[in-house]
């Protein structure tokens, strides 16, 4: 069985690589900080500080899959965060209106600016979004008037700082969090079993039964470990729920819908996709619109976290999002990349920051180390890709 485990690991090293990396990083920091890293408070904070980058990484994954890049998302997020703060503070709108309005605005920016320039006018995405980056930086300063704007709305701020309510408290544990965790694990186990049954039915290759059970048990225990940690603190945060929903939806779209398949086809071979009746133009519009929408969401999350919009909000988000996508296994040559991978990639980068913060590592070293990790991740990606094609 160890043989099978080793074979499975080496075969799927590309898929498991970043999970292993994340685990290693967490263990290292836990040891170096005498367990401080794995305390409920730190974990909870880690998730919230990853949230607004994670949603950008999800959108960026699709952008990179179709062989483009979006440098504007940081300041678009900053700008739309400021807009949402203004809508909340000055106009007093409810968040139930602010959120959809901001998301729609983000989607429109992605579609009408980037989409038009890249898909219709054939401007390289790098340039089109570099221009947008500068433009929205200016707009951000303009709308905030170089001042900090408070949201002045409890419900708004809860998106970035609050936790889901509880139905009952038992022994200091957040019960609803545990219930959600258990349901998620059950759903996962159920889907895996159903999937395995189908694969067997179609005579496709599956792992052996003991391996399968070990995998399920492992995933379930890891998830429940973190759920209990969070439940012993304040429970799941709203940010965690929002990111979870985004990942779930995007994962479903990319894996199970015709749209998702079309996106990967365009990334894998645009000429072949076009000849297969897929409009490369349309897909480009859709992907940039989705990126804009997620930038809006990122802006809302960040503004809520700070409880205010600042004139420098969003600076450097795009680079963290791109790094997250690459660390998460998205291929720079297009056509390959998973939404779930990018989330893990974003978590890896955030864990590095958090861990080094806890150890009081200077900011200068933090940047250097994060840069090196990014390079190592991409080297790993390129090398394992060659390995795979050689094997065949």
């Amino acid at each position: 069985m160890f043989k099978e485990l080793r074979a499975a690991l080496s075969e799927n090293i590309r898929d498991y690589g970043m999970y292993i990396a994340l685990a290693v990083i967490m263990v290292i920091f836990t040891v170096l900080t005498d367990g401080l890293f794995l305390t409920p408070r730190v974990l909870s904070d880690l998730i919230d500080m990853t949230g607004y980058i994670a949603v950008l990484s999800v959108g960026m994954t699709l952008v990179i899959v179709i062989r483009h890049i979006d440098l504007s998302v940081g300041y678009v997020a900053g700008f739309l965060g400021a807009i949402s703060a203004i809508l909340s503070f000055k106009l007093g709108w409810s968040i139930w209106v602010i959120i959809p309005a901001t998301l729609a605005l983000g989607a429109m920016i992605g579609m009408f600016w980037t989409g038009t320039l890249v898909a219709r006018l054939k401007v390289p995405a790098f340039v089109a979004t570099l221009a947008a980056m500068t433009i929205f930086r200016g707009l951000l300063i303009k709308v905030t008037n170089s001042e900090t704007i408070f949201t002045g709305n409890e419900a708004f701020n809860a998106i970035g700082n609050g936790y889901i309510p509880d139905i009952a408290k038992v022994d200091g544990f957040h019960i609803l969090t545990i219930i959600i965790g258990v349901l998620a694990v059950l759903a996962f186990v159920f889907m895996e079993i159903r999937n395995r049954k189908k694969l067997i039915q179609y005579k496709l290759r599956v792992s052996s039964m003991p391996m399968f059970i070990i995998k399920l048990a492992f995933v379930a225990s890891v998830v429940m470990f973190f759920i209990f940690k969070l439940a012993s603190f304040k429970g799941l945060s709203w940010t965690a729920i929002i990111v979870g929903v985004v990942v779930f939806i995007y994962n479903f779209i990319t894996k199970n819908t015709t749209l998702g398949r079309h996106i990967y086809a365009v990334g894998g071979n645009p000429e072949a996709a076009e000849l297969s009746g897929i409009s490369v133009k349309f897909i480009t519009y859709v992907v940039f619109a989705s990126m804009g929408m997620l930038a809006a969401l990122s802006g809302i999350l960040f503004t809520a976290r700070l409880q205010s919009a600042t004139p420098t909000a969003g600076m450097g988000f795009e680079l963290d999002a791109i790094a997250g996508a690459f660390v998460g296994g998205t291929s720079a040559s297009g056509g390959v990349g998973k939404v779930t991978g990018s989330i893990i990639g974003a978590l890896v980068m955030a864990s590095l920051s958090k861990g080094m913060d806890l150890m009081n590592v200077g900011v200068s070293y933090q940047y250097i180390i994060r840069g090196l990790v990014l390079v190592v991740a991409v080297i790993f990606d390129v090398q394992t890709r060659n390995m795979k094609s050689k094997k065949a």
Partner: protein, 505 residues
């Protein structure tokens, strides 16, 4: 006259194919030597061996230049000996000026600092040699293909070329430019430059060649001497195609043709990038249950014709009409053509046919995902069933339908590509070079499949450069050359010689 070049017993193998088989090739000093043969006869491969693209040790046999055996490790080595090769795709840098291009890679310099003054002066001398009166500071991108071709030659002359090799130099030129180029070759001959020209245009060959060597299936067939009156079009064609047809084609019982399914009238495509028509006034039709072959040589406009009627416009300006079952239709995008019952299996499987990094089942279902989706959610059961079905019916040899297409052999990739287009259930299946680069067994399977499809009432348009295949499979043959339809033959009247004659106008 002595031989400037002798290539002795050259053999070059690629995995699975012998591209050159004991080829002997002699060129006399100061002559214009034309190399002719069908697509895939080995002409370009031979020239690549000569120029060092395939380095010494990569082939068997000897290259003897001026009596000395040469061992070129790379292109630079052959250039030093005075050999220059000009490819069909020009190797100029479009955004650079004429003089920069001419001396690119061998600039006048002192310790790395370029002397632009002498560069310009020398460039003007070179331009005079090729009778070109463009300003040397003009950017290459602003010049026509014909002028660019001459600049390539000027570049070769600046390297003190003794042996000039031109790979189909006139393929993309208009008549005036072609004539100009041929005249220049004659002028250079007077100055002692030996030229080897690969060409598909026999009229040109006859007009200019001192010697013609014919290659066929990687072997030297003969060398014809113009001074002895041996260079005659009929003979050249005979030697080019004179193979016996021993490929076996599956027999087809009771041919039955229905009504005209697809008709194309006065169809022209103007390529805005190239600045010329790639398809010109083509009238074409196909009936139900018919296999129509489109023969022609490379660059004849066959693939462009297929792409343009399939709605893949690229940078084409299109005129003309398409009728399907008598109704006029417009294809602005391949998706329109697919809806109207067309399917196009690309000539370039890896380039624009398949998505190599995806697996067999994803490739097969790509063009018709809606068929296995409910409200845009793909039914993965259904997908596996569909893919598994094609794997069995087309006999695709793969360990699993989850194998990446990249890892399959050429023949099996082709079957995946065909499966993908059968899944859209077309009425007209366009196969562009359906058996290029695949083994004999897979070829036979594809031929058999074509017969099965037309028995069901489908129509098949087969674009092919392999004459035996065209003659063995088609019910009717169109021949294209230079974007025009140059002939239409019922299969009973079609012969290799007739087709080649129409294709080499």
């Amino acid at each position: 006259m002595k031989n400037i070049l002798e290539m002795r017993n050259i053999t070059k193998e690629f995995p699975g194919v012998k591209a050159l088989d004991n080829v002997n090739f002699q060129v006399k000093e100061g002559e214009i030597h034309c190399l002719v043969g069908e697509n895939g006869a080995g002409k370009s491969t031979l020239m690549k061996v000569l120029s060092g693209v395939y380095p010494h040790g990569n082939y068997d046999g000897d290259i003897v230049l001026n009596g000395e055996v040469q061992k070129f490790a790379r292109i630079n080595d052959s250039e030093k000996k005075g050999i220059a090769i000009i490819y069909q795709e020009l190797a100029l840098v479009p955004e650079m000026s004429v003089y920069e291009n001419i001396f690119l890679g061998h600039e006048f310099h002192k310790k790395g600092i370029v002397n632009w003054h002498s560069t310009r002066v020398e460039a003007i001398k070179m331009l005079e040699k090729v009778n070109l009166s463009v300003h040397p500071s003009t950017k290459v991108i602003d010049l026509g293909v014909g002028v660019q071709q001459l600049i390539e030659i000027a570049k070769a002359l600046s390297k003190d070329v003794k042996l000039l090799i031109l790979d189909e130099p006139t393929a993309s030129l208009n008549e005036d430019d072609s004539e100009n180029l041929l005249k220049l070759l004659k002028d250079l001959k007077k100055e002692g430059v030996t030229s080897i020209m690969i060409s598909h245009k026999l009229k040109e060959v006859i007009a200019i060649a001192d010697t013609v060597t014919v290659l066929r299936d990687g072997k030297t067939i003969c060398s014809l001497d113009a001074s002895k009156g041996e260079v005659v079009e009929k003979d050249i064609i005979k030697y080019m195609v004179g193979r016996e047809i021993n490929d076996i084609f599956p027999k087809r019982e009771n041919k039955k043709f229905g009504d005209v399914l697809l008709e194309v009238k006065d169809w022209s495509a103007f390529d805005k990038n190239l600045g010329r028509h790639v398809v010109k006034n083509v009238n074409f039709n196909i009936r139900e249950g018919e296999i129509v072959g489109i023969a022609g040589l490379m660059g004849a406009g066959r693939t462009e014709f297929a792409h343009s009627i399939f709605g893949n416009m690229k940078e084409y300006g299109l005129t003309g009409e398409i009728f399907i079952k008598g109704k006029p239709v417009k294809h602005n995008h391949p998706s329109d053509a697919i809806k109207n019952g067309l399917a196009y299996v690309s000539e370039d499987r890896k380039g624009d046919g398949l998505i190599l990094i995806q697996d067999v089942k994803q490739n097969i279902t790509l063009a018709n995902l809606n068929k296995i989706a409910k409200r845009t959610v793909i039914d993965k059961h259904e997908e596996v069933i569909v893919a598994e079905g094609f794997r069995q019916s087309l006999n695709i040899k793969t360990p699993s339908i989850e194998q990446k297409v990249n890892n399959l052999s050429g023949g099996n990739q082709q079957k995946v590509a065909i499966g993908k287009w059968l899944f859209v259930e077309p009425n007209v299946l366009i196969l562009d070079e359906p058996t290029r680069g695949i083994d004999v067994g897979a070829k036979y399977e594809i031929y058999t499949l074509m017969n099965e499809l037309i028995a069901k009432g489908m129509s098949v348009i087969m674009i092919s450069s392999e004459l035996p295949e065209v003659l063995g499979m088609s019910d009717r043959v169109y021949v294209m050359a230079e974007g025009k339809l140059t002939g239409e033959l019922p299969i009973e009247e079609a012969t290799q010689e007739k087709i080649m004659e129409m294709a080499t106008l």
